[in-house]
Symmetry: C2
Subunit: 329 residues, 2 copies
Amino acid sequence: MKANHTPQETQHPANSLESQEAPTLLVVGTGAVGGFYGAKLAQAGVQVSTVHRSDFDTVSQNGIHIDSIDGDLHFIPHRVLRRVADCQTPPDYLLVTLKALPDLEIAKIIEPVVGPKTVIILLQNGLGVESPVAHAFPENTLISALAFICVQRVAPGRIRHLCFGRITIGCHPEGPSPAVTQLARLFQSAHIPCHVTESPAMARWSKLVWNASFNPISVLAGNATTKEMLDLPESVELIRNIMKEVINIARATGHPLSDGLIEENLQATRQMQPYHTSMALDFMAGRPLETEAILGTAIRIGRKAGIATPCMEGVYALLKLLEKPKKEE
Amino acid sequence: MKANHTPQETQHPANSLESQEAPTLLVVGTGAVGGFYGAKLAQAGVQVSTVHRSDFDTVSQNGIHIDSIDGDLHFIPHRVLRRVADCQTPPDYLLVTLKALPDLEIAKIIEPVVGPKTVIILLQNGLGVESPVAHAFPENTLISALAFICVQRVAPGRIRHLCFGRITIGCHPEGPSPAVTQLARLFQSAHIPCHVTESPAMARWSKLVWNASFNPISVLAGNATTKEMLDLPESVELIRNIMKEVINIARATGHPLSDGLIEENLQATRQMQPYHTSMALDFMAGRPLETEAILGTAIRIGRKAGIATPCMEGVYALLKLLEKPKKEE
């Protein structure tokens, strides 16, 4: 019944049609994590478009290929965009998988496509990533999300999924939310184990226990793998010390993490394949590091709460120094 | 009056003659430090021979050239040897400037040339270097020595002297010694400021305040210079924390160092030219690091004395991990 279409509908027939059938989602910062979860949600029937900088040409021609332990997967995005602003209609979901870097103003980057009903999902590491976005879009639902996954971009348009894949999501700042329940259903129908939390802040502190220890150490030790870090008693001790400091800060600020997390994390990591951490891979590739989101913010919160963090401060100082361009003599 | 020479004298005329005129000294491990002080003592009339591994050919042909802030200096050793055992007569002084490495058995290396009256000088960094040598040669005078100098081997037979040069010497384990007084006179006539101490152990702890902080940090921060380390407030804080831990261990074990050493060391380093530490230069050149002599031994002494050393243990763990050969994926 094409004759019944209004001019408005004729201009955007695909969108109008498909938005009734499938939710739309735009991945902003389509690296390994964004590409992987975008592909999975597309499999579950979500209409997934992606934004790319360096990989635009490859992905627009060939899509994204994922070599996954769960079976290989080829993903052709609905639309492949060069810039966020190229997305003409605000999506139902905006999945932000950009690195958490001080210079990256997420709120400004996503501003062109945030509609009044767009649910913003921040799938990023570290602490304090939500505040600027919540401040910029106070009326939008903001979902704070964490991925537990070993995944690497091995070439343009090519991702390697080594292990895990589960995700934790919660409404920022806290409490239940229908949007979170809906998103969890989408992940689950994409066969992604999805845990819903009413305290995403607590989940972020919990994940930081691993990130603040393994990530910086792997970089400072010259791209050491998880296995290499676990094989040396002295570095296991440093990992434990950093984990304990994170737990102490979390506890002092109302997030009662258990000390048992230390051995749980060590045990889980021992069972992983030897893994190059994302921070080490970033460093080797000359990309900026999430030093502030993973260490700096927590150290400052700890300082205000009167918690001593000598080991975190030590690796933080070394990372900052390592990241500074060196002057050749 | 050549006819009067005995056959013995004819066989070793130079030695017999010169040993009456000038003390003999053999440098074992003739890198930047050994080459520099050997050259200076030769200027003061000591008969200095040197042992080389990699630089043997260059030095036997051309000697050692020193580009020094105190004026350039060319040094032709009395004899240039490939191996310690090639030295036919025990020298009056044996100057050991080898790295302090766990695998390097100094007592075994010098054994072929230690005569009953040979004074052994250990000019090495770190703690605990004297014990094995004192144990192997209980009848010999053992001088523990520390160099405060910025000096680098820039090519075979070529040394660059950037600043300082003073030396501290003392009889091991402690107390006054005529041999120390004589050696101090030799250094002084070579225009090397020489401080005599009756407690070389205390001097070693004092020097460790600088070495245990600047050296490991420079390596872990990717060959950072002293200036780069001092320009970042976070790394100055880490330097201070490590210095304080060294002072705490020293104090707990009978070496009453003052907290003032921290700011004194920082101040003195600020006045130096930007300097690549010896440990960073070793790391860049793929040579083994003095991790145990500079950190491990002190940490273990601290543990026995119940002193907490989280920062030293942190950088120690990172250095050990960094030194391990990495498995490429």
